[in-house]
């Protein structure tokens, strides 16, 4: 091997690590949770017969997007928490880092594998969700056609258009992308914590706290600023808290989507950039903590 042969950054090494992590998680059968999601959707559809179609679609979207958000978050935390400790415990990490693999590539590879898993999970859940939505839409259109027999064609057309508008709306796909980005930042943060955590349970417990604080902090912040005013120090403190505990409420666009409100492009772009920045910053923190770690 030549001295100049080693590349400090190799996409093929990262690809191998990500692919391996993805295979590990898939063979651990983590995709079984999709069955629960499918059952939830089917169960949900069965109990909505008595609702109006607007209500039915609202509930379907609310339940599906809410479940997607929770499932991907849980998956991101639980799947990531065990990756590093297990490699250390089984000494597999020695065999990997004794190869010409920089530690940042190892971390990027591990996170990449989890993100791949999350992407597949979100895609599978989206496919299930859209399939149920599509089926219900067509069933309701058929029912509407039957009920409106004898009406003027314009009236029928109007009823069908109204129904279609409340089924699929423009906010669905951006909303799902944001759910994925929220799970990504949670995975990166979990990876960071697992670089210094003493056990998987510690990592998961800390992440559960962060998850709740992340969702509640915007309410607490508003209350605090109202009560104590917004001096420079307070703002710095609030920004610091927002860095340590991500403001997860910003990633909660489900209510707007359910209400049928279109997500403005600017809001989507801002939230997406925020998700990517959070993920990158936590990955960097993970590297800072891990690069000098004695194995």
């Amino acid at each position: 091997m030549s001295r100049s042969g080693h590349r400090p950054f190799s996409l093929s090494r990262i690809g191998a690590l990500s692919g391996n992590t993805f295979t590990e998680l898939v063979r651990l059968k983590v995709f079984y949770f999709l069955l629960i999601f499918a059952l939830l959707l089917i169960g949900n559809s069965l109990f909505m017969a008595r609702l109006s179609f607007q209500q039915e679609f609202q509930v379907l979207k609310d339940v599906s997007l809410g479940a997607m958000s929770i499932f991907t978050s849980i998956l991101a935390i639980v799947a990531t928490a065990q990756l590093l400790p297990r490699d250390v415990e089984d000494r597999t990490i020695y065999t990997i880092l004794a190869k010409p693999v920089p530690r940042y590539e190892y971390l990027i590879g591990k996170l990449g594998g989890v993100l791949l898993l999350l992407a597949f999970s979100v895609l599978a859940m989206t496919a299930l969700f859209f399939a149920v939505l599509f089926l219900r839409e067509h069933m309701l259109i058929a029912a509407t056609m039957r009920e409106t027999t004898g009406m003027r064609p314009e009236q029928i057309q109007e009823a069908v258009e109204r129904l279609k508008a409340s089924a699929f709306n423009a906010g669905l796909v951006p909303g799902i992308v944001i759910i994925f980005l929220k799970a990504s930042l949670l995975a990166a943060l979990t990876l960071f914590i697992s670089t210094f955590a003493t056990s998987n349970i510690f990592t998961v417990v800390v992440m559960v706290f962060i998850y709740f604080i992340g969702h509640l902090q915007s309410t607490a912040r508003e209350y605090w600023l109202q009560e104590h005013g917004g001096g420079v120090l307070v703002k710095i403190f609030v920004a610091f808290v927002a860095l340590i505990f991500p403001d997860l409420q910003l990633f909660n666009l489900v209510d707007d989507i359910v209400a049928g409100t279109a997500i403005p492009m600017a809001l989507f772009a801002k939230t997406a950039v925020l998700g990517i920045v959070y993920t990158s910053v936590y990955l960097f923190f993970a590297w800072v903590s891990f690069h000098g770690k004695e194995l």
Binding site: S12, N20, T92, L295
Partner: protein, 285 residues
């Protein structure tokens, strides 16, 4: 001057003990060199600093003082590990991967790909005798098989140096013998081997040079023959000697004032006896 395969200069490693004021000195001012093509054994009881030294050489742990080099490159450089293969003590690989998948994964980490990776994977599986188990998941491998797949992953990129930490720990005598043969095969190919062990008989058989560590200090170092030979004693091994011949020899020794320290039948090793008695059975599939 030939660049040593491994150079350790004044290496010291101190581990702070959390919540206590004391520190643990794992390695103290250690210096040694391993020449290319040599099989070097690092001996010592548990906790003597063998594994720590190996980890520092591989860049997994940073030294408190001193430095280590691999073929002239500082161990802290990631690129220094291009020429190295490592088998840790009692390794557990990803048990959900098959033997072939494991080797492909490690090959990719070393920059191999395409046809080259495929060929190397097949060669390594053959070298360690696991062709028949190539598509079985590692979760179903025996300890000896895991050790062999570990050796195969260490060799996947044709390294110039192989580092083995207790390569026969927990392996039965037959498996241990196979690993020993593999190490001798590596030596035949000109690959440098640095291994740690506390199984002295085995090290004696395969190592050209040994270093003995105790409490992190290198207490003895040198060629195996030099360290083991007792300069003022000579051993004669006779075949079919009659009691009369022995008596004559004893008289001759007596006349020349040479003291006969002992007279005995040479013995086989326990390892050889065990292997002959149990005869190798085929690997269970």
């Amino acid at each position: 001057m030939i660049e040593p395969a491994v150079a350790v200069n004044n290496l010291t490693k101190i581990f702070p003990i959390p919540f206590r004021r004391t520190k643990l000195v794992a390695v103290r001012d250690l210096s040694l060199e391993v020449a290319p093509g040599q099989v070097y054994g690092l001996l010592g009881p548990n906790g003597s600093g063998k594994s720590t030294t190996l980890k520092i050489i591989l860049g997994l742990v940073s030294p408190t003082a001193g430095r280590t080099k691999i073929f002239g490159r500082d161990s802290r450089e990631v690129g220094s590990r291009e020429a190295v293969g490592f088998l840790p003590e009692n390794p557990y690989f990803y048990k959900y991967l098959t033997g072939a998948e494991t080797l492909r994964f490690y090959g990719k980490l070393c920059g191999l790909g395409g046809r080259e990776l495929k060929t190397r994977t097949a060669e390594m599986l053959q070298l360690v005798g696991l062709q028949d188990a190539r598509d079985r998941r590692l979760g179903g491998y025996s300890k000896g098989m895991l050790q062999r797949i570990g050796l195969a992953q260490a060799l996947i990129q044709e390294p110039k140096l192989v580092v083995l930490d207790e390569p026969t720990a927990g392996v039965d005598p037959a498996g241990s013998r196979e690993i020993r043969d593999l190490i001798l095969d590596l030596k035949g190919r000109g690959i440098t081997v640095l291994l740690s062990s506390h199984l002295l008989a085995q090290v004696q058989e395969i190592c050209d040079r040994v270093g003995i560590l105790a409490h992190g200090i290198l207490v003895r170092e040198g060629k195996v023959q030099d360290l083991l030979s007792i300069e003022n004693q000579t051993e004669l091994i006779l075949e079919d000697a009659t009691p009369e011949t022995l008596a004559q020899i004893a008289a001759l020794l007596d006349k020349s004032q040479t003291r006969l320290i002992g007279q005995r039948h040479p013995q086989t090793t326990l390892e050889r006896l065990f292997l002959e008695a149990t005869a190798r059975l085929p690997e269970k599939e």
